[in-house]
């Protein structure tokens, strides 16, 4: 939601002083919606993109009770960590597809050469990525939390941290993907680049959920995740745009 609000805000700025027709044609919102719609269409026709990360998420989480044992107390103690680590890895798994196919078939070049500023197009792609991978994780997380006997008080905290945190994963991950997209086997490098950036989100998210389980206020941790979210929302698209320019050079 916040992402959308942001994009609408940006459309207010006129781009081209010359003629109003051009402004209409080149409105940020139109460009944003255009790329968003395209990426969602492609994802719907290529369902692997949606199912793979989700399946991975579910499998990891269901394996833990099997490996550790069914004691409710142990599971509920480690539940926040498991859910968040799984979400993080599921996102990492899906990142590669964010720009790879566009790079391989030349669409990325065409986006760079379009008169629209690249950060708008990139932001749309990242938003689409979040809708495809982040949102399904959030929707299924409460169900998996039941499996892990997550403390009742923690559900709201779990959802809130995921809601604020998964976009951060998509945004920061996009920077890493953009940097490695030109490299043939960039997978390992991508993990090395991106995982350290994910650690703050992981720490504050799990800490918020743990605090909530104790019945204490966790707004401090949430505020930090929100800060990470807005920070990456405003800066990442520019970094990604610049990185793509370097990668295609």
């Amino acid at each position: 939601m916040t992402l959308k609000a942001q994009s609408q805000q940006m459309t207010e700025q006129p781009i081209d002083k010359a003629n109003t027709d051009r402004v209409k044609q080149l409105s940020y919102r139109r460009a944003f919606m255009l790329v968003l719609k395209r990426d969602l269409t492609i994802a719907m026709r290529h369902k692997d993109d949606i199912i793979n990360p989700l399946l991975f998420f579910v499998i990891i989480i269901t394996l833990f009770p099997l490996g550790i044992g069914p004691e409710a107390q142990t599971l509920s103690r480690i539940a926040p960590g498991i859910i968040w680590v799984a979400a993080l890895l599921a996102t990492l798994l899906s990142l590669d597809r964010l720009f790879k196919s566009d790079h391989l078939d030349g669409s990325l070049e065409q986006m760079l050469l379009s008169p629209h500023p690249i950060f708008v197009l990139v932001l749309a792609k990242i938003f689409a990525h979040w809708l495809i991978t982040g949102l399904p994780l959030i929707l299924i997380a409460p169900l998996l939390a039941v499996l892990l006997h997550l403390d009742e008080n923690s559900y709201t905290a779990l959802l809130l941290t995921l809601l604020l945190g998964t976009p951060v994963l998509s945004l920061l991950g996009a920077v890493g993907v953009a940097l490695t997209v030109g490299i043939k086997k960039g997978g390992v490098l991508l993990s090395l680049l991106v995982l350290p950036l994910y650690i703050p989100v992981l720490i504050f998210a799990t800490s918020a959920i743990d605090t909530a389980a104790l019945g204490l206020p966790y707004s401090g941790q949430l505020a930090i995740i929100a800060a990470l979210f807005f920070g990456s929302l405003t800066l990442a698209p520019f970094a990604v745009g610049a990185a793509i320019k370097v990668s295609t050079n």
Partner: protein, 228 residues
């Protein structure tokens, strides 16, 4: 024929390009005026694609400047890109989308709705136009086929269909004839001639001779790695 007095659409000043520690070209200067059809020639690996990418602003030259109407392209990127149509080796066509969706996206991405914004409002007219452009590249009947189900040549044709709509004066085309049949090549050549007559310019690389274009009209740039 070129009019030397007019402002060049694109001019390059002393371009130097180095790839993999090899000097591809050095001190390459050229002026491209409205009405020019420029064919870049040279053996494989001689830097044709590199030159086109530098002219389109996708790559940075090792040294030298590219100007658009006497302004550095980095200074007037937005304006330059509105005046540019670049088609690379890779067609920029998504296999998961139909021919029609691909063309529509490409047109909208480049903000090129001709005859001004009225077209945007009348969606039906837009639709007819899209179909008409696909018909021009012999893809009628394939509008709703996924691009991944089409042949290599048809794939290429989807990308090329943009040319029929384009108002951009500068066309930079890297191997546009790859996988295109003889008839298709002939109609593209006719399109290039028409574009040049309307005051546009075409810069292309191809290993074929351009048959139906008057040889006097073609300017040739030959890149030859050996003498560099």
């Amino acid at each position: 024929m070129p009019k030397p007095t007019s402002t060049p659409l694109i001019s390059a000043v002393k371009l130097t390009c180095i790839r993999e520690e090899r000097l591809l070209f050095d001190e390459l200067s050229l002026d491209i005026h409205p009405g020019d059809i420029v064919q870049v020639e040279g053996p494989n690996g001689s830097g044709k694609t590199s030159l086109l990418r530098i002219l389109s602003g996708l790559s940075q030259p090792y040294d030298g400047i590219v100007n658009f109407k006497n302004q550095k392209i980095n200074r007037c990127r937005e304006e330059f890109q509105q005046n540019l149509l670049y088609l690379g080796h890779l067609a920029g066509v998504k296999g998961e989308m139909t021919a029609e969706e691909n063309l529509k996206f490409n047109l909208a991405l480049h903000g090129s709705c001709d005859n001004n914004s009225s077209v945007i409002d009348s969606a039906t007219k837009n639709e007819q136009n899209t179909l008409a452009y696909l018909a021009k590249v012999n893809l009628s009947g394939f509008e709703d086929s996924l691009a991944s189900h089409l042949s290599a040549g048809q794939h290429r044709r989807i990308a090329l269909s943009r040319l029929y709509q384009s108002n951009a004066p500068i066309w930079i085309l890297d191997e546009p004839f790859t996988a295109i049949d003889k008839q298709g090549v002939a109609s593209l050549e006719a399109l290039f001639t028409g574009h040049a007559q309307r005051g546009g310019c075409v810069i292309l690389t191809t290993h074929q001779d351009l048959i139906s274009i008057n040889p006097d009209q073609i300017k040739k740039i030959t890149l030859d790695y050996s003498y560099a």
